[in-house]
């Protein structure tokens, strides 16, 4: 969790908003630090988290989480974190027999058109339970990342439908949050990815877009973050809906500063 980002977004683990879809998007840079931020943020906020980790292994997220002060192992043992490790369970789909449809069942289908089993997995994971378990605050779905589903052969509309159902269930029914990362190829050549990105942008309440610097690599400025609030509670609050900051990723923190105001050049 990066306190400076919390300040920019005006959120804190004590008062996390509910019912929101946050879209993380990265263009010509790696935006995974935002995924780590929101993972540690919601674990600290005592939320029940379902993490669809399709890109990296559990130990990778765990090591980064420890740097940010949360232990994914403990959270998983406590039942706070439901972790779908895509790299491992994709093997299970092929080599183990299942009675119930596997969350990643689409990998076995010829024309992968349906992410319903994945949605069922999310709904089961985040469904409110009786009082036997300790009460978590609100359920949160975190996906890293949705573009990977396109690479695995799922169509953009199918991914949009999956997010639609997650939104209808997690955000509206369970009053929780959804956070998802999508890559932006930026050159407009990948039509499916553009449909996915634009479709999600229209659905989301908050868009965090990280971009590499147009001038190329820089040692002291790693990129810029564009914050766009959509669907503000007050329609007139259009004035400050969009903000741009530059950032530098450090070992355990990310520092944000106004454009051109890097401490290295001042």
């Amino acid at each position: 969790m990066f306190p400076e980002l919390n300040n920019l977004l005006n959120i804190s683990p004590d008062r996390a908003e509910q019912g929101k879809l946050t879209l993380l998007c990265d263009a010509k840079t790696d935006g995974s630090f935002l995924v780590h931020h929101f993972l540690s943020f919601y674990l600290r906020a005592n939320c029940k988290v379902c993490f669809l980790a399709l890109v990296q292994s559990f130990s990778h997220y765990n090591i980064v989480g420890q740097k940010l002060g949360v232990s994914l192992t403990v959270a998983r043992e406590r039942g706070q974190l439901v972790f779908l490790e895509g790299l491992k369970s994709s093997m299970d789909v092929f080599f183990q027999a299942h009675k119930e449809p596997h969350p990643l069942q689409f990998l076995r289908e010829v024309n992968a058109g349906n992410l319903q089993p994945l949605f069922e997995f999310v709904r089961e994971a985040l469904k409110p339970v009786d009082n036997r378990e300790p009460a978590w605050r609100c359920p949160v779905l975190l996906v890293d990342d949705l573009s990977l589903l396109l690479s695995l052969g799922v169509g953009a509309v199918a991914v949009l439908d999956f997010v639609h159902y997650c939104r209808a269930t997690v955000c509206c029914e369970f009053k929780g949050n959804v956070v998802a990362l999508v890559h932006d190829s930026g050159d407009g050549e990948d039509e499916e990815n553009d449909i996915l990105l634009n479709g999600l942008s229209h659905q989301s309440h908050l868009i965090l877009r990280t971009e590499g610097l147009s001038t190329g690599f820089c040692r002291d400025v790693h990129g810029q973050l564009k914050i766009l609030w959509r669907r503000p509670s007050q329609p007139t609050a259009q004035r400050d809906r969009s903000l741009i900051y530059q950032y530098k990723i450090q070992d355990k923190n990310v520092s944000f500063f106004a454009k051109g105001m890097s401490p290295a050049v001042l």
Binding site: F119, H164, A168, C172, G199, S201, T236, A258
Partner: protein
Amino acid sequence: MTPSGSAPGETRRKSEMLDSLLAFGGLMLLRDSVEWEGRSLLKALIKKSALCGEQVHILGCEVSEEEFREGFTSDINNCLVYHDLFRDPLNWSKTGEALPGGPLGALTAMCRRTDPGPVTIALDSLSWLLLHLPCTTLCQNLHALSHQNSSLGDSSVQQVRVLGLLHEELHGPGPLGALSSLAQTEVILGGTVGQASAYILCRRPQQRPTHQTNWFSILPDFSLDVQEGPPVESQPHPDPHTSLVDPMTHLTFNLRLSKKEREAKDSLTLPFQFSSEKQQALLRPGQGQATSHVFYEPDAYDDLDQEDPDDDLDI
């Protein structure tokens, strides 16, 4: 509907944009983008229709019913019939709450409306329908939807108005062109820094198409505030997170002069100012001027050339 305290002319202008948009029936496209969302304008139009006493049907595919109804007063909410295609559009939940027949069934059910009187149908959004239905099917249904009363023999007054929200970036030029040829009115949303604009294109049968651009903002109660033109200040607004600092404090120089200082400044003659005394002093052949000469003694080893250096130029 308009906030109190505004001038009468202003009030008239505010309602003009919505009135002109809602003056005719048929299909109206609201084309929005990620940066400039059009749902607020759709809700403003719905509010206006509801206040005119029309029945409003909404086919909601993108936001939940609670979120859509948020911000409307209860008497407006009573006029709205929400067809919920959001909660379970593909019948995955199998709870029986899904609309029968999916998106296509919902559309055709709206076509078979029997109650008389003017009606507004809002499709939130056409983009969702376009991603899930073939373009031709959707266009045929939209045509049937917006021309219902033509079949009743009363083609002079169109009583059905269809408002379709369309996210432009999601579709190629083909479907966009097909839909815009169906539409009587198109509203393309855009804007600059803090101000939304609507480019309105109207096509009426046997008339030249008209177009105009309006600058507006939408108030929290979904009424419209129409401005004269784009905002004058185009620089970005100051960052809300930095507190305002007065730049005039801690200056090393004065920005203003006191009366005494101003008098002293005015009485001073600057070196380049030309006065008659100065002129006289220059014209009078003074003592120093008459006796001044330039002495030049060449150095012993100076290489003095007697020839004209420009001799070869043949001037």
